[in-house]
């Protein structure tokens, strides 16, 4: 498989605080890759380094070309980032959120039909204010909005955060479907290592801004320190 996204020796900083120290990772086209780690390990910053929402140095390559753009330019290159806090527009309607998702392209009826296929509840809620949806619905709306962009790469920041276990399972099922049926490549950041390792083919474990471990999920699941620190057995 060809590598869609390559990070090589990426540093990132918030003012004087360096959050990433030489992170390297590869996401193959059509795969799901998970980034695990404790709070403050640099998971979110890794995604932000890709989408250009944090100051970064090092090499970030997407589809064979170096990524230099800021967030809006990155979005136009085909990378959809569902950030921490989901990035939905709470004041706007569900429908307007979806239209904004397709901002970089001409959305057709077909796009909305495809969204409905994965999120059947969305049509009847289309004129509802996004801020009045439940947490799970907002997370699904964030996914749907990202999908409207028809991205080549989806960056997901803790899709399980604050959701009931049943909803988490549902969301991860949809992510898997989008990956299998639409060929969507996904880089997902998760605290919930258990479910992330089930979903992803490969995973990286970050510790204080560095890659501590990486490899196929099946191997990491067996790894002594991962089991103890992140899986809890």
């Amino acid at each position: 498989m060809a590598a869609l996204l390559v990070l090589e020796n990426v540093d990132a900083r918030y003012g004087p605080i360096q959050a990433l120290h030489g992170v390297s990772l590869t996401v193959d086209e059509g795969s799901i890759v998970a980034v695990l780690g404790a709070n403050g390990a640099g998971k979110t910053t890794t995604l932000r380094a890709v989408s250009g929402t944090v100051r970064r140095s090092g090499r970030v390559e997407f589809a064979g070309k170096t990524l230099r753009a800021g967030p809006d330019g990155t979005a136009r290159r085909g990378i959809a980032h569902v950030p921490e806090g989901r990035g939905t527009f709470a004041e706007l309607t569900v429908w307007e959120n979806l239209r904004l998702g397709a901002y970089t392209r001409r959305a057709s009826k077909d796009d909305f039909a495809r969204v409905e296929q994965y999120f059947p509840w969305i049509d009847e809620r289309r004129s509802q204010q996004a801020g009045t949806l439940s947490g799970g619905e907002q997370q699904m709306l964030a996914l749907a909005r990202a999908f409207m962009a028809r991205p080549r790469l989806l960056l997901l920041d803790e899709p399980s955060l604050g959701l009931a276990p049943l909803l988490v399972t549902e969301i991860f099922r949809i992510i898997r479907e989008l990956n299998e049926h639409e060929g969507l490549t996904v880089l997902v950041v998760e605290q919930n290592a258990h479910i992330a390792l089930q979903l992803a083919g490969d995973a990286y474990v970050l510790e204080v801004g560095r890659v501590a471990l990486s490899g196929p999920s099946a191997e990491l699941q067996q790894h002594e320190s991962v089991r103890r620190s992140y899986l809890g057995y």
């Binding site: 989408s51 929402t53 800021g70 809006d72 959809a80 950030p83 527009f89 709470a90 004041e91 706007l92």
Partner: protein, 328 residues
């Protein structure tokens, strides 16, 4: 972590009591107009005046929503663009062509003000922004006086001076024209914001700039366009003020103050509120002037400020604003 959403936010939308109150005001004005000719005359003249307050108040609100700063120079920008229209008519451009050319110039002017003066300091300090807009006020005032002088200038009356008589009521064609042009520009803007992709992107950029940039919106451009549109509305307000106040560098200063009152009355975050607020204040001032004996024209500004103070004390979010606390 870094502000994809705000902790508290004023949402806009009228509550039921406010809507009932507004309906009552409408009924009062209609009944009064049917009963008394003078009342009807004063109401229409008040609406025309109020529509100008509404345009300028809407310009203030647009900028406040996009950049979270009160643009103290809004009135002077409007005045300057009106002088540009005047200059165009001196060059024998017909009035309405000059009107539309001025709107385009105003749009560019507003965008440039954002790009050159506001954007560089936007995220640094609110005080700096306020000082910049106050400085711009003084700068424009000085430049216009230097170029065109402080004496009164006159433009051709765009709507003529005819008066229509309906029953015993006399409506001036100018009031009707001012009212229609101001309301039309507000409606065009509303359609742009509500029904176009550009308008949606502009709203997204103003509400949540970080999230908007992640879906590919060029936030800076959207804010510059917002400033341009606000300057256009200001130009409409200035051009519609000219027939009654004539051209002078101070022509928009009192109007800016009425527009502040209108914007605060409507709720600073609410475009619809600013329009309703402007119309209400226009009509209110006119009717008070007519029926309250001691309220001479010297009391107009104090009354507007009394409205502003009362709103700030009793209903700080205005008629159309509601404070809402939401999870981050």
């Amino acid at each position: 972590m870094l502000g994809f959403s705000r902790k508290t936010k004023v949402t806009t939308g009228a509550s039921l009591p406010v809507l009932i109150g507004l309906a009552a005001v409408c009924v009062f004005l209609i009944v009064g107009s049917l009963v008394s000719d003078i009342f009807a005359q004063q109401t229409v003249a008040g609406l025309a005046q109020g529509a100008i307050f509404a345009s300028l108040a809407l310009a203030l609100v647009l900028i406040y929503r996009a950049t979270e700063v009160i643009n103290f120079a809004q009135g002077e920008m409007a005045m300057a663009t009106t002088y540009i229209a005047y200059q165009l008519t001196l060059w024998h451009v017909t009035y309405w062509l000059a009107f539309f050319l001025t709107l385009i110039i105003a749009f560019v002017f507003g965008g440039v003000v954002y790009g050159v003066l506001i954007r560089p300091v936007q995220h640094r300090s609110v005080i700096a922004l306020v000082i910049i807009t106050v400085g711009l006020f003084i700068l424009i005032d000085g430049l216009v006086t230097w170029k065109w002088g402080a004496d009164l200038k006159f433009m051709q009356a765009p709507f003529g001076n005819q008066v229509y008589h309906v029953g015993g009521v006399a409506f001036s064609r100018q009031d009707i024209g001012v009212l229609l042009v101001s309301i039309l520009s507000v409606v065009v803007l509303w359609v742009l914001f509500q029904f176009t992709k550009l308008g949606l992107a502009m709203r997204a950029a103003a509400l949540r700039p970080a999230a908007a940039s992640l879906v590919g919106v060029r936030v800076d451009w959207m804010l510059a366009i917002g400033w341009g549109l606000a300057a256009m509305l200001g130009a409409v307000a200035g051009l519609m003020t000219e027939p009654s106040q004539f051209l002078q560098p101070t022509m928009m200063q009192a109007i800016l103050l009425y527009s502040f009152a209108a914007a605060v009355l409507g709720g600073l975050e609410s475009p619809a509120g600013s329009v309703v607020g402007g119309l209400l204040i226009g009509v209110f001032l006119n009717l008070i002037g007519q029926y309250v004996g001691f309220a001479t024209s010297e009391l107009r500004l104090p009354i507007a400020f009394a409205v502003l103070l009362i709103v700030l004390l009793l209903k700080p979010n205005g008629l159309f604003g509601r404070k809402q606390v939401r999870r981050v």
